[in-house]
Amino acid sequence: MTRSISYAHAVNEALSQAMKQDKNVICYGLGIPDPKGVFGTSSGLQEQFGSERVFDMPTSENAMTGIAIGAALNGIRPVMTHQRLDFFLLAMDQLVNNAAKWHYMFGGASSIPITIRLILGMGWGQGPTHSQNLQSWFAHIPGLKVVMPTTPEDAKGLLLSSIFDDNPVVFLEHRWLHNQDGNVPENPSFRVPIGKAKILRAGTQITIAGMSYMNIEALRAIAYLQTLNISCELIDIRSFNPIDWNTIFNSVRKTGHLLVLDTGSETCSVAGEIIARVSMEVFSSLKAPPARLALPDIPTPTSFALTKYFYKNAKDIVAEVAKQLHFDLPHEIPELEKKCPHDVPGNWFKGPF
């Protein structure tokens, strides 16, 4: 059965079903059992599965990552959560030097089935140290898997796949998606495979490869472009390690045009990698220079007045498509104006974080 639930609910359901399916699944992180339940994603889990399997932790990101790895060496499948990706910078040693390499460097003797949920912030003054989108860092490290679901369905399906994957998986959740609703199968055996992109909208004139919240903006842009009879194909990259090159290449072969959307800074981004590979592998199909829309190489500012120019939205996407396909746009596009301030996901959001 499928019903419409929020992204946060879908994450919560995946966690709960995984813990039911396998008693080796445990779940911890700062605030996991607290009254807010990490934006609702972990609510009720401690009540359901007890404080041995669901627990809060000291503010010790690096050791707690190593502890997950150690537990995984003896059959546990830890799911660790951080309310902001930025905090997890403290744990790069354990993630990169241990988790990512363990299986390879011991010749396959052990594997590290851990899932690390990292929530990305944005808006309402999250500022420089509460809003980083470092997916390209993770994608750069051999031995990690990296996913970043956009829809509630994928949130559930990819989280279940991550938890039951025998490798370390970095699972990236955009805070602005938590309240988005979507149809999600209730079935606990539902899975979305890691490593497959998803065509969110089929189209013919340009390939837009998007990720996470940028796909929401892309869908708005595409709806508008449709009114101009421009047909875009939107690919949700979803998995950054491995990346589903075939789906991307095939689309570009068809459309001859590529625009990549990234939620992170531009230089050395995943978007750059996609443009590089497409340029190397399907060069002859490209009818125009590929383009990318990512954050400028600037630390995130806090002020409402500055984030307005910092983040990209549907209007920017439409402008890029127009530039690449050489058509003109009206000066004002009221259909693309957001119905709420630019720094909140909806009018319901009133801070503080």
Partner: protein
């Protein structure tokens, strides 16, 4: 009974009032949705910020955490620049880039607060190293919470500060919680943070963080030792945050802490303790204190007006100061 004269007592009262009133006003007006950033109020904990700030010299350094308003103001930070920063204005102490969690006022020796737990602890120690290298008699003060003690970087920083006998005053506000998590889920049973830190080799003391004269007295004595070259000192000060971890409201309805606990701490309001201390010692009258409050209220109002009336940064400001030009 600590030796505090009337001048210091009045200064303490004024500082506590200023922090209290500034933050109460933030809380009141947060709902206007003009202060659009995460904001961690220290209401209930003001005595520490006031007492340490007054005990420190102006040219001493301080660094702080996500919950920095009090430390910033206590150290003499510019109230207008802080409010403008929270409002995201170009007149803010960080030109609107940092918000509530990133405050700075170098004129007051307040070298920066950041939002990563434990993140400024080594910076404070590095400032201590710079003082040692420059051979001045300054002190570097590191404000931190009980949660920050759990970060490895705290331990590494302590080790280095003790190893090099650096002039650093560590001020740990133990308010029993890290967000909604009590100490019991984060640190071993019967752990006394100060004892643990003593094991690392640092001189430590515990005190009542809601009693400004007591904290002031302790700080003065500690600073003397530190300036004497005796190495770092660590103070564990017990106190309590009244409102929610982040944001303007009370959150006792959430149930992560008991009403009794809250009430017992609220009864020991640092502002009231300070007021009674002054009255008891005849350092001032009710009228004197009311006058101070009034002047603080108008100072705070001015700061809000300044913040509201200041311009926002413009588009070009977005890409300024990514790199320092000096080289």
């Amino acid at each position: 009974m600590p030796l505090i004269d009337s001048k210091i007592a009045i200064e303490l009262f004024r500082s506590i009032s200023k922090i209290r009133i500034a933050e109460e006003t933030i809380a009141e007006r947060y709902g206007e949705n003009k202060m659009r950033c995460p904001t961690h109020l220290c209401i209930g904990q003001e005595a520490v910020a006031a007492a340490i700030g007054i005990a420190l010299r102006k040219n001493d350094f301080a660094v702080s955490t996500h919950r920095a308003h009090g430390h910033y103001l206590g150290k003499g930070g510019d109230l207008k620049a802080m409010m403008a920063e929270i409002y995201g204005k170009v007149t803010g102490c960080g030109k609107g880039r940092g918000g509530s969690m990133h405050l700075i006022d170098k004129n007051a020796g307040f070298m920066g607060s950041t939002a990563i737990v434990g993140g400024t602890i080594p910076l404070g120690v590095g400032l201590g190293l710079s003082i040692q290298l420059h051979k001045t008699d300054q002190v570097s003060c590191v404000f931190l919470g009980d949660g920050a003690v759990e970060e490895g970087v705290f331990y590494e920083s302590m080790n280095f500060a003790v190893l090099k006998k650096l002039p650093v005053l560590f001020v740990c506000e133990n308010n029993l919680y890290s967000v909604y998590s009590p100490l019991s889920v984060r640190q071993p049973d019967r752990r006394q943070i100060s004892n643990m830190v003593a094991g690392i080799g640092c001189v430590t003391t515990q005190a009542d963080g809601n009693n400004a004269p007591e904290v002031y007295d302790l700080a003065v004595k500690s600073l003397m030792k530190i300036r004497n070259g005796e190495g770092p000192v660590f103070l564990e000060l017990f106190t309590y945050r009244w409102r929610e971890h982040c944001g303007p409201s009370y959150d006792n309805d959430l149930g992560y802490r008991s009403k009794e606990e809250f009430e017992s701490w609220k009864k020991r309001d640092p502002l009231v303790i300070m007021k009674n201390y002054i009255l008891k010692n005849h350092f001032g009258t009710e009228n004197d204190l009311d006058a101070i409050c009034k002047s603080v209220v108008s100072e705070v109002n001015d700061a809000f007006i300044f913040a509201e009336q200041s311009p926002f940064p413009d588009k070009a400001d977005l890409s300024g100061h990514i790199y320092s030009e000096g080289c």
